[in-house]
Every structure is written in structure tokens, then in C-alpha cells.
């Protein structure tokens, strides 16, 4: 295409957050009336790229970005989203930005209401103009018609199904006559299939009328259906641009996931398949905000390391939190043949199940306490260990000597970098805090261990120690481990089986040796395309 025809060009964009390179030399171009699908794993940098375009304050506050942006061949650099809107760029965000107690109309026209003059305006200013409800209604209806969807302009947002909320947001952009480019950041993530279809039709209709659209989504077949071109982002780089008519979900998925397996995995023989089932989860529902679980069935074999993977927000984290009783759950869970009571963390812990939470600083650690006390804290509370009894149990005393001894043991074996075991947990780096969390779980001598995002936010060195430690715990103590992680690579390096969660359900269980593309497809909910046996 000739340069002149592009509505938007973002050229050689690079961005780091405090040294963490998130985008590297990314170039994308969008033509007039074109729909570009922007795809990539969580953390690939899609939202960051759009935030740069939009001039969001997070970008300016973290040192800006490198590269140039051209809108209709004029170089732009928006200081705030308002300038971007002014220039004709509309963005529909991942989270709804709506007022729940307002109607669709009121939200569509929020802060752009039609008003009438009255005499008090002369004294008190423009804000005392009265709303022109009739005109507002007309404008809302017009914006909704442009979208071509069914949406009641007088319905309160709080009473709308999610899909309608999404339409309301898009209609808001449609009311702005100047909108030339619409950015949709995962607009269909929360929609039902029929809503998503309507949404796609609407997008197509808008593009046909000359609007350009950047469409971010994880639903590959959808995006292939409506986008003209696809840009695949991986680790902050554009790995490929594809004509959507000339590619398949499979190709896109493998480009997204990409990496070849680095170290050969020690896959054990399938003996765990026949071994007994320690944990049997039936129809588990968990109310964990942002990580909702919607009816999971899962069987865990004795002595295995089971991985749970999936994209953020699909519910993989909810499973462990639900079984451990940290979030309201429903369903049936059997542990060693007995019913495991839900919503009761203490009884779960006392049955010999331990949990290393993804929320290190919130749930995992007592930040103001020393390392040693952190390590033994749950053991004291739940198992009554490390306690000396005096006067026949009337006076209880912590056995400081024994606590220190055990703590030092773990400090050595997990290579926790600290001044001494008396150092406060909050002074440790993320990786070392994580190791303390692991030690805290190991000291309980659990038969079953849940570990969630064990390597999130820690450096490479600490990562391998953490993974090695888990593997050793599994080998040497026979601890069954259920590890939840966003990093597929890491799951593939230590797990015996990997379950992939999508939309709050298990979409399939694959061996670590399966084709990376198959993992990608499962994560994206494209079950039919998967070739390895599910």
C-alpha cells in the first residue's frame, strides 16, 4: 500500500517499564476502513501499545516511549486521552467504563450531553444549562443504529447483560462524529457467543462505513473472520503480519506461543496414570473476582505434578483458591476418598494440604515478621508444632531454638538470600520472599501442595531454584503438586500433565510434550483444532 493511504502509522515503537523491555521496535499500520487484529499472549504488550497511542498517563509517568506515531501523515504525540479523542481515536477498554445507575443514553452521552440555555447560565455559567433529554435520546438512538444492534436507550446499565454494556461503550464512541479509529481491547472476552457475533457484525459494519478498527482479542476464529490483517505480537515484538484470508487459527496460535522447548523435559513414564486418585474435583464453581471458575472437573493422581495453565482472567487461579477455601466455592471435592469441606481453609490445611498463594504479599507472608516465624507460622497455627508446653499445657511457649534451626535449614536448602533467619520478610527481594512461602508450605510436610504463579515477578536465577525445589519436593517426599502458572514454558518444564483452563472450565489436558500450538489453541478455546489427544 502507498504510504498516503494509511490512517495510522505507529513506527519503531519501543517501551520499557523501569528497565523491563515491554515493546521492541514495533511497527503497525492501519489503513482507512481496515480492521487489524492484534493478537498475542497475556503480557505480549498489546494493551501497552494501545496505551501509548492513546497518551495514557501511565506511559508518561514511566518515562514515555521511543518511536513515532502518525495520524493521517501528521506526527502526533498525545499528552492525554482527551487529546487522542479530540484527534478522532476512540478506545473501548478491557474494563467497562460506565456509570451503573445511568441509562444507556446517559452513558453514551456522558459529559457530552445536549443542553438548553436558561437565564441562570449568565450568572453561574455553562454548567447550569438544562439537559435536553429529547435531543439526547435522538442522538443515542442514532449512535446505536450506526452499530446496528438491539439496545434499549432507556435501560439502566446495572440491569443490562454484559453484551449490552459493551455495545453502550462502543455507541459512546459512535456518537463522536470525529471518530476515525476505534480501538477495541478484548471486547468479546466477556460476551456470550451470540453477543460476540452481533459485536463482530457491528464492527464489520462500522469498517465498511469507513472507520478503521484495531481489534484485540483472544478468540482466533472470530478475529480471522472479520479482520483484514492480523498482527501477531510475542514478547513485545511483531513476529508476523498475516493476511487473515491466508492463515489458520493453528498457524496463529503457534506463532503466538512460539518458543521451542528449551531444556529437554524429564517426562516420567505414565505410571502416574494408573496410580490412585488423591484429589477428585467435581463441578467446582468458585466466586473469585476476575478468576471465576464455572464447573471444573479434575482428577489428580498421587505423586504427580499437575500443571494448570490458561490466559489471565480465565479462572485458572480460582481453582486452587476455591479448593483451599479462600473464595466462596460450590461443588464436590474428594480428598483421599473423603469429602473435603469447602469454604473452610483451616480444615483443608489440617488435612495435610498446603497452598503457596499467588498473592505473596497479601496472603502468603507476614511482612513485618522475621523469616523464621513466617516459615513456621502455619505449622504453629494448624499443627501445633514448635510449641513447648509448661505446667501441663497451661503456658505455651514458642520453641525458638527449634524454629531457628528449621528456618536455617530451609534458608540453606532453598538458597534464601538474607542476613539471617531473623530478617524481616518485607526486606527480602520478590524471589526470596517466594522461597520463604515455599518453605512455609514444605514445613507442613503436605501430601498435596497447591502452588500458584510461583515464579511471577522474580528473576531468572530465583526462578530455576524455585522450580528445582518443587521438583525435588515431589521426587524426594512424594508430594503431589498442583502448579498454576501463566507461563506455559515453565509448566512444560516440570509437569507430568497440563490442564488448560478457558472460560472457567478445563478445556483439555495435554502431556508436556504436546505441540505448543495445541496449548495455544486450547488457551484460546479452539478445542476442535487441537491435534494431540485431549
Amino acid at each position: 500500500m502507498d504510504e498516503k493511504q494509511y490512517l495510522l502509522r505507529m513506527e519503531n515503537i519501543s517501551k520499557d517499564f523501569f528497565g523491563n523491555q515491554v515493546l521492541k521496535d514495533v511497527t503497525i499500520r492501519v489503513g482507512k476502513g481496515e480492521i487489524i487484529g492484534l493478537v498475542g499472549e497475556n503480557g505480549a504488550g498489546k494493551s501497552t501499545l494501545m496505551n501509548i497511542l492513546f497518551g495514557l498517563s501511565v506511559i508518561h509517568e514511566t518515562g514515555g516511549f521511543q518511536g513515532r506515531i502518525f495520524l493521517e501523515d501528521n506526527e502526533v504525540n498525545f499528552a492525554s486521552p482527551f487529546e487522542a479523542i479530540e484527534a478522532g481515536i476512540g478506545m473501548v477498554h478491557q474494563e467497562f467504563i460506565l456509570i451503573p445507575g445511568f441509562t444507556a443514553t446517559e452513558n453514551i452521552l456522558l459529559n457530552r450531553e445536549s443542553t438548553n440555555y436558561n437565564i441562570l447560565v449568565e450568572v453561574f455559567g455553562e454548567r447550569l444549562r438544562t439537559l435536553d433529554r429529547e435531543e439526547m435520546h435522538k442522538r443515542a438512538v442514532k449512535a446505536i443504529e450506526k452499530l446496528g444492534v438491539q439496545l434499549d436507550p432507556d435501560m439502566l446499565v446495572s440491569e443490562m447483560p454484559v453484551g449490552h454494556r459493551q455495545f453502550t461503550e462502543i455507541a459512546r464512541e459512535m456518537d463522536r462524529q470525529s471518530t476515525k479509529l476505534l480501538v477495541l481491547d478484548e471486547p468479546t472476552a466477556v460476551l456470550t457467543e451470540s453477543e460476540a457475533n452481533t459485536m463482530l457484525k457491528a464492527a464489520r459494519k462500522l469498517a465498511d462505513s469507513g472507520l478503521s478498527i484495531i481489534f484485540i482479542t483472544h478468540r482466533l476464529s472470530e478475529v480471522l473472520e472479520i479482520a483484514d490483517r492480523l498482527v501477531v505480537l510475542r514478547d513485545g515484538q511483531v513476529v508476523r503480519e498475516l493476511e487473515s484470508s491466508k492463515t489458520t487459527p493453528r498457524e496463529v496460535a503457534s506463532l503466538m506461543v512460539g518458543r521451542e522447548i528449551k531444556d529437554a523435559i524429564s517426562v516420567r513414564s505414565n505410571d502416574s496414570e494408573e496410580s490412585e486418585i488423591v484429589l477428585d474435583i467435581k463441578d467446582l464453581w468458585v466466586d473469585m473476582p476476575g478468576e471465576q471458575v464455572n464447573g471444573v472437573n479434575l482428577q489428580v493422581h498421587k505423586g504427580e505434578i499437575l500443571g494448570i495453565g490458561g490466559l489471565a482472567g480465565q479462572g485458572k487461579l480460582g481453582i486452587a483458591n476455591g479448593v483451599m477455601g479462600l473464595f466462596p466455592a460450590e461443588g464436590e471435592v474428594h480428598y483421599k476418598g473423603e469429602i473435603l469441606p469447602l469454604n473452610n481453609p483451616v480444615s483443608v490445611l489440617s488435612k495435610g494440604i498446603a497452598f503457596v498463594s499467588e498473592d505473596r504479599r497479601g496472603v502468603g507472608l507476614l511482612l513485618d515478621e522475621p523469616i523464621d516465624l513466617n516459615i513456621v507460622f502455619t505449622a504453629i497455627q494448624i499443627q501445633g508444632r514448635f510449641i513447648k508446653n509448661f505446667l501441663g499445657g497451661l503456658v505455651k511457649w514458642r520453641d525458638e531454638k527449634e524454629i531457628s534451626r528449621v528456618a536455617r535449614e530451609y534458608v540453606d536448602s532453598l538458597q534464601i538470600k538474607c542476613v539471617s533467619e531473623k530478617q524481616e520478610a518485607k526486606e527480602l527481594s520478590g524471589g526470596n520472599q517466594q522461597k520463604v512461602c515455599l518453605a512455609k508450605a514444605f514445613v507442613l510436610e503436605p501430601d498435596l501442595l497447591f502452588v500458584s504463579e510461583p515464579t511471577r515477578g522474580i528473576d531468572v536465577g530465583a526462578k530455576s531454584v524455585v522450580l528445582e525445589t518443587l521438583r525435588r519436593q515431589n521426587r524426594e517426599h512424594g508430594t503431589t503438586i498442583i502448579m498454576t502458572s501463566s507461563e506455559l514454558e515453565e509448566l512444560r518444564s516440570i509437569c507430568d500433565r497440563i490442564a488448560i483452563v478457558n472460560e472457567g472450565k478445563i478445556f483439555g489436558i495435554l502431556p508436556p510434550t504436546a505441540d505448543p500450538a495445541d496449548f495455544g489453541l486450547l488457551m484460546l478455546g479452539e478445542q476442535e483444532e487441537v491435534k494431540s489427544g485431549v
Partner: protein, 379 residues
């Protein structure tokens, strides 16, 4: 507004009862207490009409901050102080009758605006804790007010009339007579219907205020306040200046409270220089809550129902108390006890309702997801 907590309860009758639990409770109480007190209907009607005239303006001044999501504004005490300062100057300058009232309002308004601006600025730094902050701010400004009146007036601030000052030559006396403006608004246009006198003048002012408040909700500023009240973040994203909008709501409330206090005091006929404003916030807020309002939603009907129930309770309680326990003072204790009690209960109730609301919301979301899955998403 935000308060749709139980609007989704199953049975409409149950729904109504739950969302109006407080007024219903008071009505039941009154059904027993009114006959026990032995007061005549005429007497009670007269009293209620007087109280409505006296208090409505003050209670209405609470409505606008509620709309802006700032809760029940104890800061109206600041407005009351401004009104009193206006009245003191009016007395000093010897302006009487309706012009006197207008003068007091004119003097009070800039003071109220300044205090409102101060309160708004401070409350913007205490988002989510507006009620308690405005209450403490009221105590603080009260200190400054008392200091100014006790030491500043007659020394730094010129007060010419010796009748207003303490014998030592500076500082305003404890109690000031408002004879020159006593009931001028009430008597401006008053009719008597079968023994019940109705101050139509005051009521027209109140009606005008109600119309203003209603009209105000339909202005751009009113709409912005509703948006800010529901979700500051979303409002800010849409380009609404959140802090400024909130400050404006407090300023309007403070100025209205200033007028409200002047109307209140002209009816009473005296100012207790150092305490007249003390309980203004508490009583107005208690009345509004008894009328069925909540921290997040308050309407004009809440105002009138609330004042009627609140004051009726206090008129009949001493007599009923005497009949029941042989003690009349019980009524006065009762008044303070009930006011603070009702505020505490309403706040707790509100927190509880929000909890229930969240729970329902979550269950709804879950049902929606279940339906969506059965709908066949993702195979």
C-alpha cells in the same frame, strides 16, 4: 441512584418494607405514643406545621451532597454559623423586618461560600470518609467561630451596639433577641384554617427551593454530580472535573444551610450565640434518615416525611414518657439518644445493604455465566 440494593427482592411488599424499614418503625412507634400523650389533633397539627416551616430548608440543604456521593454532610453546621454571623451583623446595623433577613442572608452568603470551599477542599482529600470528616471539620470550625465571636467581635471586628456585647466591651452576648425579625417570614403571608395557622410565606420559599432542587438535578451540573456520586473514576475518564464538582455541591449545601439557619432562627426568635448551630447537623441528618433516606439516596419526600416523624416523636415522647414512667425529662434524653442512635443504625444498615447488594450482584453474574455456557459458547 446507587441505592438499588433490594429493589430486586422477590416480593414487592417485602421489598417496600425493607427499603423503608426506618420510617415504618417510627410510624408504628407513633401509633402507640400519640394516643398515650393525650395531645389534641389541632395542637399536634399546629406543631408539625411550625416544625416543617422551621426545619425544611435546613434538611433540604443536605440533598445535593448526597447526589454527589458525599454522604450526609455534617458540614451544614458551617452554613449555620455563617447564617448566625449574618444575623449578628443585621442586629448590629439595626435593619429590621424582611430587609433585615435579606441583609443577614447577603452577609452570610460569602462566609458560607468560603467555608464551603474550605470544606469541599478538605473533603476531596478524604474521599470515602466524608461524613466523619465533615463532622470533625464542624467541631474545628466551631472553635474558630467561637473564638472570633468571643474575642474578635467588638475588638477587631467593629460592633457598635453595646446591647450585643458582653459587659467587658468585646465578645458577643450568650443570647441575642431577634425581636426585630421574629417570625417576619412566617407572618409575611399566613392563613388560618380551622385553628391551624399556616405560614404560607415560608412554605412558598420552601416550595421554591424544592423546585430549584428538582430543576437542578436536570442541569448539566446536576447530571455531573450524579455521575461523580456513582463513580468518580468513570466520571473523571469522561472528562468531568470530579473535585470541582464535589466542592460545588458542598458550597451549594453550605449556602443553603446558611439560609436555612436564618429561617430557623427567625421562627425561634432568639440566637444562642454559642450553641444554636450545635445540633443542626445531627438533627437534620437524623430527620432525613427517619424519612427513609440513606447515605446514597435522599429525596424531597424523605425530607417532609422525616421532619414530620422526627418532630412528632419528640413532641409526644415527653408526655408519653410521663404517662408511662412519671418522668418528663426522659423526652429530652430521648431526643439526643434517638438522633445519634438513628444515625448509627442507618449507617450500619447501609453498610449491610451494600453487602447484600454485592452478594446478589455476584449471584446474578454467576447465573449469567451459567446461562452463557448453556448458550453454547466455546463448545
Amino acid at each position: 441512584m446507587k441505592d438499588q440494593s433490594l429493589t430486586r427482592a422477590k416480593n414487592p411488599l417485602v421489598r417496600f418494607a425493607i427499603s423503608n424499614a426506618v420510617p415504618i418503625l417510627f410510624i408504628i412507634l407513633l401509633i402507640f405514643a400519640v394516643p398515650l400523650s393525650g395531645f389534641s389533633t389541632d395542637y399536634l397539627l399546629n406543631e408539625i406545621i411550625t416544625r416543617l416551616g422551621r426545619n425544611s430548608f435546613l434538611v433540604i440543604s443536605l440533598l445535593i451532597p448526597v447526589m454527589a456521593g458525599m454522604g450526609l454532610n455534617f458540614g451544614i453546621v458551617l452554613g449555620a454559623m455563617a447564617g448566625q454571623i449574618g444575623l449578628i451583623f443585621m442586629l448590629d446595623w439595626g435593619v429590621v423586618g424582611i430587609p433585615g433577613i435579606v441583609l443577614a442572608m447577603l452577609v452570610g452568603t460569602p462566609i458560607a461560600i468560603l467555608l464551603g470551599l474550605l470544606a469541599g477542599t478538605i473533603l476531596n482529600r478524604a474521599k470515602g470518609r466524608e461524613m466523619v470528616t465533615s463532622m470533625i471539620l464542624g467541631f474545628f470550625i466551631n472553635g474558630i467561630y467561637q473564638f472570633t465571636i468571643l474575642y474578635g467581635m467588638g475588638s477587631v471586628i467593629p460592633i457598635s451596639s453595646n446591647k450585643l456585647l458582653l459587659p467587658r466591651g468585646y465578645g458577643v452576648r450568650n443570647a441575642l433577641d431577634l425581636l426585630s425579625v421574629r417570625k417576619v417570614l412566617d407572618n409575611m403571608w399566613s392563613v388560618e384554617i380551622s385553628g391551624v395557622s399556616i405560614p404560607l410565606g415560608v412554605f412558598s420559599i420552601i416550595a421554591a427551593l424544592c423546585i430549584f432542587v428538582f430543576w437542578f438535578t436536570r442541569t448539566k451540573l446536576g447530571q455531573d454530580m450524579r455521575a461523580v456520586g456513582q463513580d468518580m473514576q468513570v466520571a473523571a475518564t469522561a472528562g468531568i472535573n470530579v473535585d470541582r464538582t464535589r466542592t460545588l455541591s458542598i458550597i451549594i449545601s453550605t449556602v443553603l444551610a446558611c439560609f436555612g439557619q436564618i429561617i430557623f432562627l427567625q421562627n425561634i426568635g432568639t440566637i444562642n450565640t454559642y450553641n444554636s448551630h450545635d445540633q443542626v447537623g445531627t438533627f437534620a441528618i437524623a430527620a432525613l434518615l427517619i424519612g427513609g433516606a440513606s447515605v446514597a439516596k435522599a429525596t424531597i419526600p424523605n425530607v417532609f416525611i422525616g421532619i414530620t416523624l422526627f418532630h412528632l416523636t419528640f413532641i409526644v415522647a415527653p408526655r408519653a414518657g410521663k404517662e408511662l414512667l412519671g418522668q418528663a425529662q426522659i423526652g429530652e434524653y430521648f431526643r439526643v439518644f434517638v438522633s445519634y442512635g438513628i444515625i448509627a443504625i442507618s449507617l450500619a444498615l447501609y453498610a449491610w445493604r451494600r453487602q447484600v447488594e454485592k452478594e446478589t450482584e455476584r449471584r446474578r453474574a454467576k447465573a449469567a455465566i451459567k446461562a452463557a455456557i448453556e448458550d453454547g459458547t466455546g463448545g
